[in-house]
């Protein structure tokens, strides 16, 4: 009954629970990642992101519920599934080998891979020196080596646990470019990160995890195509500020001490705002971007208020 490997979603999580006691762990997780979809995981430290990713890798036996990879139970088929999954762990521990080259070659051998051309392409893109001693590698070099190793055999599913933590901004961009390309190729991807902007740029959906529970899964389309916009306006003169406040705008933030207001308006009303502002002495004018971070903060706030 269990083998449904044709036409199934690459990752299916059903009522997955891993209870470590004292309220730690993950509880009743449910989600599906469709083929070619990229899903993001955000959440506070210790909220259960890594536990979920490790469950999909089959490293952890669930207390109850299931994690399926290509229709196969993750824990029971862990070794079989490995060949279809590229994985970059949050904390990288390399085997006892001398250099990056040794490690990448051993990975290739394990996977029965002879063609190293894709690995070399990635090495070039990441400006990685694979001859360096594994033990002496800096954090950034270790991450690069781990990323190359995870993609070496072109697997269909990619699991990245905070792949960009500790990287400098340029390296972060190089990493994200590679991940975006894999996404374009139709890979199924799950990535955790603390950087909301990384998620915004890349993910199709993002799940918010808090204290072992999935609080919300948002479709990024809804964040990107929000029908309203927020603008922050600061006036040079107090009387302009007072006058503007009498107009029919929805003011969502008012900072009297700076003669500053933030208004929310429909996208198509932007021109109307410009026309109105023509008659005022404006000191500062800027759109306040609606971000994934803001969205999640609102959700957490609502939840807290409910609990009080």
């Amino acid at each position: 009954m269990e083998d449904k490997s044709t036409n199934v979603d690459p990752i299916v999580i059903e009522h997955l629970t891993k209870d470590y006691g004292e309220g730690r762990g993950i509880f009743d997780f449910n989600f599906t990642i469709k083929k070619g979809e990229m899903m993001g995981f955000v959440g506070t430290n210790g909220s259960g992101k890594t536990t979920t990713i490790r469950s999909i890798m089959g490293f952890i036996k669930p207390t109850s519920g299931h994690a399926y990879v290509n229709g196969k139970e993750a824990y029971e088929h862990a070794s079989e599934n490995t060949k279809h999954i590229g994985y970059v762990p949050g904390e990288i521990g390399f085997p006892d080998l001398k250099t990056g080259t040794n490690f990448l070659k051993s990975q290739a051998e394990f996977l029965g891979l002879k063609d190293m051309s894709y690995a070399n392409e990635l090495i070039k893109k990441l400006q990685l020196d694979p001859r360096a001693n594994l033990k002496r590698m800096s954090k950034g070099m270790k991450q690069k080596t781990a990323l190359v190793s995870s993609l070496i055999n072109n697997p269909d599913i990619l699991l990245f646990d905070e792949p960009t933590t500790g990287l400098d901004p340029l390296m972060r961009l190089a990493f994200m470019d590679i991940i975006k390309e894999e996404h374009k190729k139709g890979k199924t991807i799950l990535m955790s990160s603390h950087m909301f902007n990384e998620m915004e740029d890349t993910c199709d959906r993002v799940a918010l995890i808090n204290n072992g529970h999935i609080i919300d899964i948002v479709d990024m389309k809804d964040i990107r195509n929000r029908p309203v916009k927020d603008f922050k306006i600061e006036f040079n003169k107090k009387e302009d500020y007072e006058k503007f406040k009498k107009l029919d705008y929805k003011i969502i933030r008012d900072q009297v001490e700076y003669n500053q207001v933030t208004v929310e308006l429909k996208k198509e009303d932007t021109s109307k705002l410009f026309n109105d502002l023509k008659n005022y002495d404006v000191k500062f004018f800027s759109e306040v971007k609606y971000t994934l971070e803001k969205y999640f903060k609102e959700i957490l706030l609502k939840k807290e208020n409910k609990n009080v």
């Binding site: 430290n45 949050g90 070039k124 800096s138 950034g140 990287l167 901004p169 603390h194 021109s271 004018f285």
Partner: protein
């Protein structure tokens, strides 16, 4: 008064790696930002300041004392968060905290409890073995142990990497408070918003050498603003280009004929003129892009290296 001094520090690891003639100082009550790409020499410099490594030439001092030779005299006054956390094996969180307290001979329970509360480490977590802790929790433990003796000097090597956004905010606020108390802080970081929020002066290191050093405020008060304007109608876009390609109030930096948008820069004083100019047009989107610390730094970060494959 200079609390932290780095004078002509050189440590040559060969093949162009290491730090070369690095000099800077941090004054009492100052937050000094130390930025640079991975592998540029930030941690090497910091490790010399902690007395872990002997310079080839030059020296590093804290409170006027050589950090390599007088390591023991300085230890208790310096809080240090390493870039990579390696905790000793087989200890619980509590045992680790007690071990560090014994090493520094400082047992400040009031400060310890304050830190544990601030960074949300509870008793259940600390009773667990450190090797079972998640990366984020280990990071929090490192933060708490660095600050639990209430030291006068803080040396922080990418302290918030791996912390969640909530904790990053807590951390930034904490640094600001410490600064107000007169603490001297050296902060290495890749996260521009936190450097922006806390640092008085900034140095950038690249390939082992300091390439730029400046006062943070000079950058913060840039009066040039950048905006992207999406026109709803192509005819508006074309009209705008014909009329304002040569205008004193704004400069067109980039445009896209296909999607009808322009990217402009303008001075703060000209914003009223720009609003008047735009008011007759139907505008789909108006976004501003800050000239941030990040834009400034990215050019220092860029480099090209190639090492051949496997």
């Amino acid at each position: 008064m200079n609390i932290i001094e780095v004078e002509h520090l050189t440590k040559d690891y060969g093949s162009g790696r290491g730090v070369f003639d690095v000099s800077f100082n941090v004054q009492k009550g100052e937050v000094f930002g130390f930025l640079g790409p991975n592998g540029a020499g930030k941690s090497t410099t910091i490790r010399h300041l902690m007395g872990f490594s002997k310079p080839d030439s030059g020296d590093t001092k804290i409170f006027g004392k050589d950090t390599f030779l007088k390591y023991n005299e300085i230890l208790g006054k310096v809080g240090y968060i390493p870039g990579e956390i390696a905790l000793p094996q087989g200890l619980t969180g509590w045992e680790f905290i007690r071990m560090i307290q014994d090493l520094t001979h400082i047992h400040n329970e009031e400060q310890l409890n304050k830190m544990l509360k601030l960074f949300e480490l509870d008793d259940i977590t600390l009773k667990g073995e450190t090797k079972r802790m998640s990366l984020g929790v280990k990071r929090k433990l490192a933060v708490v142990t660095a600050f639990m003796s209430d030291p006068d000097v803080l040396i922080l090597d990418e302290p918030t990497s791996g912390l969640d956004p909530v904790m990053q905010e807590v951390f930034i606020n904490f640094i600001k408070e410490e600064k107000e108390k007169g603490k001297t802080i050296l902060l290495s970081s890749h996260i521009f918003s936190e450097v922006d929020a806390t640092c008085d002066r900034i140095a950038i290191i690249k390939d082992g050498k300091i390439v730029s050093q400046f006062v943070a405020n000079d950058l913060k008060h840039a009066t040039t603003k950048f905006y992207k304007i999406d026109f709803a109608k192509d005819k508006d876009y074309k009209d705008f280009l014909t009329k304002y390609s040569n205008n004193k109030a704004l400069k067109i930096l980039n445009k896209d004929d296909k999607d009808s948008w322009v990217f402009i820069s303008t001075e703060d004083k000209d914003i009223n003129k720009v609003i008047s100019i735009l008011s007759p047009y139907e505008i789909k989107e108006f976004t501003n892009k800050k000239e941030s610390l990040e834009d400034y730094f990215m050019k220092f970060y860029k480099e090209d290296k190639e090492f051949g494959g496997v």
